[in-house]
Symmetry: C2
Subunit: 151 residues, 2 copies
C-alpha cells in the first residue's frame, strides 16, 4: 500500500519509460554503458554508488532488457553488462539530458565532458525533432492527444 508508485500500466509512454529507467541511478548507469563501461567494478568506481544499490539496479535493468549479462569479452570467467538494442534506444534521452545540462547548468566557459562526432572529429549538433514532412518542431507546435477514455 505504501509501495512506491508503479507506472507500469500507465497510458502515457513517458510514464512507462520513467517506471523503467526513472530512478536515481539507472540513467547514469546507462550513460556509462554508452561510454563503454561493462564491468560491475567499472560502474561502481565511476558512480561511487553503494554496491548493494548498484547490484539491484543492474539486475533491474537486465530484467527490463535494457542491459544484458554476457561472458566477459576478454575470455575471463567474469561477466559483463552490455546495452541491448532496447537499451541503445535510450541514446536520444541521454543526448537530450546532456544538451539541456550543457545549455542551462554550466557557467559560461566552465569545462564539461563533450559528445564528439567521430567522423567529423568535432562536437555534435543539436538534437532535433521533426514533423513527418520534415519541418523542425518545437513544443509550441505539438499537443498530446490522450488515449480515448473508457467511454
Amino acid at each position: 500500500m505504501v509501495r512506491r508508485t508503479s507506472l507500469r500500466e500507465a497510458d502515457c509512454p513517458v510514464a512507462r519509460s520513467l517506471d523503467t529507467i526513472g530512478d536515481w541511478w539507472s540513467l547514469l548507469i546507462i550513460r556509462d554503458a554508452f561510454d563503454g563501461m561493462r564491468r560491475f567494478g567499472e560502474f561502481q568506481k565511476s558512480l561511487g554508488v553503494a554496491k548493494g544499490i548498484l547490484s539491484a539496479r543492474l539486475n533491474s535493468l537486465v530484467n527490463a532488457d535494457v542491459l544484458a549479462l554476457v561472458p566477459a569479452s576478454n575470455g575471463s570467467a567474469y561477466k559483463e553488462y552490455v546495452l541491448t538494442e532496447k537499451g541503445r534506444g535510450l541514446f536520444h534521452v541521454i543526448v537530450g539530458l546532456r544538451q539541456w545540462g550543457e545549455a542551462h547548468l554550466f557557467a559560461p566557459g566552465e569545462p564539461h565532458s563533450e559528445l564528439i562526432d567521430i567522423a567529423a572529429g568535432q562536437p555534435v549538433g543539436p538534437l532535433e525533432f521533426h514533423s513527418l514532412d520534415g519541418r523542425v518542431l518545437g513544443w509550441e507546435g505539438t499537443v498530446v492527444r490522450k488515449v480515448s477514455a473508457k467511454t
Copy 2:
C-alpha cells in the same frame, strides 16, 4: 553523511541534469506542464502524488528555474506554476522518453497517448540527432570526450 548523492558539481552534463530533474516525480510534473497544467490541484489529481511530496517537488523546480510561480491567468488570487524557458528546454528529453516508451514498452496495438503535430494534424516523426554538417548520428557515430583531468 548518508546524504543522498549530489551531482551538482559533476563534470558530466547528464549527471547535472539528473541532479536537477532526475528524481521520481519531476519529469512527470514537467510532462504535465507541457500538457498545459498549471495549478497545484491539477498536478496533484493527474499524478496522484502525496501533496507534501508535490509541494516539495514544485518548490524545488521553481528554485531550479524550471518552473515559475506566477499569478493565476484567470485573475483569481491563486498562483500557477508555468514552465520557464529553461523548463521548456526539456522538451526533447520528454519526447525522447515518450518515443522510447512507445517503441519498447507497449504491446503491439496497445493504446497510448500520442504526440500530435498541430500544423499537420497527425502524429510526429522521430527525434533525430545530427552532426554539425547535417548527417544523422546514432550512438555508434559518437564518443564522449572527458574533460581534461587535473594534470
